[in-house]
């Protein structure tokens, strides 16, 4: 059974405290503290000492997904300050400009595969180039992004095969036509089930589906169903 949890950003936009309170009553073991918006980062980092995260066996931080190159050094320094916690820092590769900075994070730098709007990090080929630059970096496999880029799930499969030794965590949600993180549907579940057998049960799975509090339980069920990976094809013959 995979350890499941949520991104705080999916539960309460810009309000990580409320998101964590919501999770107190839920059967989740992992969490991703989201600072996807640049303005969220410093308040989150300042609050880390006050947060009760004892419920979670795994914590990661999602770095801002957009900021100006001028802000890069400051954002890096703020994240570098918390490296002693040993939490993976999930980054969108298109935000990395000064590679020499981010290399200092070693395997705490957790590179996420991107959606189709981006110009990098979308495919195995593009990720390989990034991992050449960041040989120690770990991998956050976003199955929704991978499916959006290639609905045949070939890229998703190859990512899980080629970067298995780097795989640190998984993001799961349905990335819809407007690039928003939706709840899993029947069709996205079928796609996900084609590759989820390749995700080790020890890998933390972070749900990014945007849900209200009363939808959390149902979404966890949908994710568990997708992770069961039940699409072994009938024997040929």
């Amino acid at each position: 059974m995979h350890r499941l949890g949520f991104s705080t950003g999916a539960l309460a936009l810009s309000d990580f405290r409320r998101a964590l309170r919501t999770l107190e009553e839920q059967p989740v073991q992992v969490v991703e503290l989201s600072a996807v918006r640049e303005s969220e980062l410093i308040p989150l980092l300042y609050s880390l000492g006050d947060l009760d995260l004892s419920q979670f066996s795994y914590v990661s931080i999602h770095a801002p997904s957009y900021f100006s190159p001028k802000a890069e050094a400051g954002i890096f320094e703020a994240l570098y300050e918390i490296r002693h916690r040993g939490w993976p820092i999930v980054v969108h590769p298109d935000t990395l400009h000064d590679f020499s900075l981010w290399k200092k994070l070693g395997n705490l730098l957790c590179i996420e595969n991107m959606d189709k709007r981006k110009r990098t990090g979308r495919t195995v080929r593009e990720l390989e180039l990034l991992f050449q630059e960041f040989p120690q970096a770990s991998f956050c496999f976003d199955i929704g992004h991978a499916r959006q880029v290639d609905t045949s799930m070939t890229e998703a499969y190859l990512m899980l095969k080629k970067f298995s030794s780097r795989l640190r965590q998984v993001h799961i949600s349905e990335v819809n036509a407007q690039n928003r993180h939706d709840r899993l549907s029947f069709v996205s579940t079928l796609g996900f089930q084609e590759v989820t057998h390749l995700i080790p049960s020890s890998t933390p799975v972070i749900i990014e589906s945007i849900v209200s509090e009363d939808q959390i339980g149902a979404e966890i069920c949908r994710v568990q169903n997708a992770l069961r990976g039940s699409v072994a094809r009938p024997k040929a013959g």
Binding site: K116, R117, R122, T123, V149, D150, T151, S152, M153, T154, A156, Y157, L158, K161, A177, E194, V195, H197, V231, A232, R233, P234, K235, A236, G237
Partner: protein, 351 residues
């Protein structure tokens, strides 16, 4: 595509014979594709891809070739796609010497849905079949590489996942579903040749006849060789594993995608580039080079475009091209009924 060290060139070097027309058309194709990509770069957006096929998609472009293209849409419908289509058309036209063909196959908007969902059945029109298989075997995305790849892989997935015999442990690993569609494409092109002869009162007979015997046939050849590839390389234990597992392995889709990323002539060259097949390769590539030489020569090409069927019998240009096509055919018969492919050809290509 467009690698400066491509398989046909490698074969030519190893055999020690130059094929200047193949090389020249390849160079011109690469140049034209690079120009077009630059022209269209600001039109690049998610879910659509400007795709070229035809001679440019095969790497056989000449200065008199037309540019066969369409706008492939794989996503939510947006009325602005039509604006992209019009703008792309304007820019492509500036780079083309001729207008697009008359069969409504090109210079249009194409939805991925028909290509992926209608394989066989009433919805699979001649145009849909042709676009789908040409997308696999002779297409280049000028924009939207990701979109193009996604559609190609989904088409391949349908052919390969739904082909149970292909994944059978004891038996040949030949994707019969895909192979049969390549056979259908080849026969459709041959039947359409007769249809166009009637519909156009014989106009353009000679040039279409020569193309049918050479470049159209090459597409079938490339399709067959791609389909035979898994069986021919079945000795590799890693390859064997990907067919034998119950769960479908997307590596197979990726492998076919990789094969079809080569130009058709390079698929043929890649297969023939072993010492024991170099003698088989020689007449095939000499003939193909001769054929491209005729198309590259504006006078000869224009002559064939207007030559009537009645006059062709004694026409030296047509007879030269016809002779090359016979060499090509005989070389293919040697290849497909030779030691290596005989069994597969008889079992999958005939009965």
């Amino acid at each position: 595509m467009g690698d400066p060290s491509y398989r046909t060139l490698d074969l030519s070097r190893r055999i020690g014979e130059l094929w200047p027309n193949i090389e020249a058309t390849r160079d011109l194709s690469n140049q034209k594709v690079a120009e077009l990509k630059k022209d269209l770069s600001d039109l690049d957006t998610e879910d659509i891809s400007v795709v070229v096929q035809g001679s440019l998609g095969r790497g056989e472009f000449t200065s008199d070739s037309d540019i066969d293209w369409y706008l492939l849409v794989d996503g939510i419908a947006d009325p602005h796609h039509h604006d992209v289509f019009l703008e792309a058309g304007k820019r492509i036209k500036k780079r083309a010497r001729k207008d697009e063909g008359r069969e409504k196959l090109f210079a249009t908007l194409v939805s991925s849905h028909d290509l992926i969902h209608y394989i066989g059945g009433e919805g699979d029109t001649n145009n849909n079949l042709t676009r789908r298989l040409l997308l696999l075997v002779e297409s280049i995305p000028l924009t939207g590489v990701i979109t193009h790849e996604r559609v190609v892989k989904n088409i391949l997935k349908r052919y390969l996942v739904e082909d149970r015999g292909f994944r059978r442990v004891n038996g040949h690993h030949v994707p019969r579903f895909l192979l049969n569609d390549f056979a259908r494409l080849w026969r459709t092109m041959a039947v359409d040749f007769a249809y166009k002869l009637r519909a156009r009162s014989g106009e353009g007979w000679a040039i279409r006849n020569v193309k049918l015997r050479m470049s159209r046939k090459l597409l079938y050849v490339a399709g067959l060789l791609a389909c035979f590839h898994p069986q021919l390389w079945f000795d590799d234990p890693g390859d064997r594993r990907i067919y034998e597992e119950e769960r479908f392995q997307p590596e197979v889709v990726d492998m076919f995608h990789s094969i079809f990323s080569d130009y058709p002539l390079d698929i043929l060259a890649g297969f023939l580039d072993t010492a024991e097949l170099h003698q088989t390769a020689l007449p095939l590539f000499r003939a193909y080079d001769e054929f491209l030489g005729v198309l590259r020569d504006s006078d000869q090409r224009k002559h064939l475009e207007t030559l009537s069927e009645a006059a062709a019998e004694s026409d030296p240009v047509y007879q030269k091209a016809r002779e090359a096509s016979h060499q090509f055919r005989d070389g293919l018969l040697d290849l497909f009924f030779g030691k290596k492919l005989n069994l597969l050809t008889r079992q999958y290509g005939v009965f």
